[in-house]
């Protein structure tokens, strides 16, 4: 799935939020007009405090064709992406995210980039060379129940393009103002016909998508969230909703 999103000045309002919550909207106070950059992603200019929207725009451009990084990126591209991620993190409007989980984190999210990759023999074993194609990766956070559900959507050729999903259910506990500890609860593949496909390599699959450990929320606003885990992974997600899911 290529992130084929066009840079959009009204970025913050992209997604309809289906539930009421007191919004503490990130106020965008442009000091200059927001330019839609048609050229390739701009290099980081030193010292300039880039507007968060600009950085997100640049990030989306950098992510074009990257397919969430799941099949690897060159180290040059990785640096570019992670450079932009760091800029955003330095402008995190929510420095104590775990105190505002209901407001800021609850709901549907969609993965835009992560450092998790499936390459080499793993990729071959999971049939990800044309037989199985990956769809969107979703994350549904349920703050009242302290649960996080990760869903990996996929399609299987030969099963008449049958669609399925891998669902991983985890629970979390707040451990600091920025960090949560995550425990794996359960996982499943639906529908059953597709379970057979992955049976042999189920452990491999779980290993790749295992959320256990801790997660630091290093950036969160109305529509964007960045996290880093104990394995050195980076996760970049955008707000989604049930209709997309």
């Amino acid at each position: 799935m290529a992130v084929a999103l066009l840079p959009n000045p009204s970025f913050a309002n992209r997604h309809h939020l289906s539930f009421k919550r007191s919004k503490q909207a990130v106020r965008i106070r442009p000091t200059h007009s927001i330019n839609v950059r048609a050229s390739s992603a701009p290099t980081t200019t030193t010292g300039e405090n880039k507007n968060a929207n600009d950085v997100k725009t640049a990030l989306y451009q950098a992510l074009e064709g990257v397919n969430r990084g799941i099949f690897g990126v060159t180290s040059a591209k990785k640096s570019e992406i992670e450079g932009l991620v760091e800029i955003l993190e330095s402008q995190n409007p929510t420095p104590e995210p775990t105190t505002q989980l209901q407001d800021k984190v609850d709901g549907y999210w969609k993965l835009v980039y992560s450092t998790i990759t499936i390459l080499g023999s793993k990729r071959t074993k999971l049939g990800l060379r044309g037989f199985i194609t990956l769809g969107d990766f979703f994350q549904i956070i349920n703050v009242p129940e302290e649960k996080a559900v990760n869903v990996v959507k996929f399609n299987a050729r030969g099963f008449n393009m049958l669609s399925g999903q891998l669902k991983i259910v985890a629970s979390y506990k707040i451990s600091s103002k920025t960090r949560v500890d995550i425990t794996l609860e359960s996982s499943s593949i639906t529908p059953d016909q597709l379970m057979g496909l992955f049976e042999k390599n189920y452990d491999l699959l779980l290993n790749i998508f295992n959320p256990e450990g801790w997660l630091e929320i290093t950036y969160v606003d109305e529509s964007f969230r960045i996290g880093r885990d104990d394995k050195g992974n980076i996760f970049v997600l955008e707000r989604s909703d049930q209709t997309e899911f």
């Binding site: 099949f71 690897g72 990126v73 060159t74 180290s75 390459l119 080499g120 023999s121 990729r123 071959t124 074993k125 060379r129």
Partner: protein, 384 residues
Amino acid sequence: MWSMSCARVGLNQRVFELPSCRVKKRSLWRSRSGVCCLFSPTQNVSVQMPSFNPITTKPISVSSLLEVVADDLHRLNTNLKSLIGAENPVLISAAEQIFGAGGKRLRPALVFLVSRATAQLTGLKELTVEHQRLAEIIEMIHTASLIHDDVIDDSELRRGKQTIHQMYGTKVAVLAGDFMFAQSSWFLANLENLEVIKLISQVIKDFASGEIKQASSFFNVDLTLEDYLLKSYYKTASLIASSTKAAAIFSSSSPTICNEMYDYGKNLGLSFQVVDDILDFTQSAEQLGKPAASDLRKGNLTAPVIFALQEESKLREIIDSEFMEEGSLEKAIELVHSCGGIKKAQDLAKEKGNLAMQNLQCLPQSEFKTALENMVRYNLERID
């Protein structure tokens, strides 16, 4: 009847019959032993065949290699074209493309050579209809697999010409391959030899097994040499081994001889495959007619890589990353060379070649046995 034509050696190695026609010049004879055909056409003369010591200083060429069975191959070519075109108009125009010049016909040549070499032991005077048909079946199966392989790999060129699916579309290519597999199975059944039927049917299954085994091991850095040899057996050696054994069976050879011929075919086939895999690394793009290291590029790990992986862990990482970084493929090729991967693979090819030579020891001395030995040498010369 080949035994009646000029200057052809009878299958009985001691008696030369020379009808009164011109002795055809045969470079294989003259360059080897220095003995011309000296026999009076009016009487049968038994002569001790000189023992051939085919140490030539120049490299073996395919044409000299196959000259002893040139007539057989010529007949094969004629038959094949008519076999394909006869029933299906759709395939008539493709028939020329499929069986026109280009292929070396090494596999049917091996059938003819083993047929004639083993026939000497059993006193068989001429090539049987079964032998002839066996060779045709083998070439059809081989060609069918190439046509389908080209569809799977989406190749544009084969033997210097456009592939069937390139010229006539995928539909014709798939049908042509299917037709040839089916036709060869039918001919095989009509040979009415159960052992041979089982041997050769197994091959078609082995082709598929080999492709599947290969595809499921892409980028698998833990691939063992055994895995690789098994895959190579399925893809290449199985056909050759089964055909050389079947040729011996049709000569009414003893089980021992038949099994030696099977092993000859298997060892020769494995040696072929290893040499092919080495050349993928060592030849330039122009020589290969396709980008160099195409196997490595798509994650098909062959002998040179497997040996190199035993030495260099950095190579593991590069392959595991599927050559994501710029220049990483080139680095990998370099590592394969520097870790002695190529050298070890060459040793493996020679080892199999030597085993094949040993398998020939049960055969009586003849120009056919010599040609079979030269097959092994010809193959190894490609990596000298």
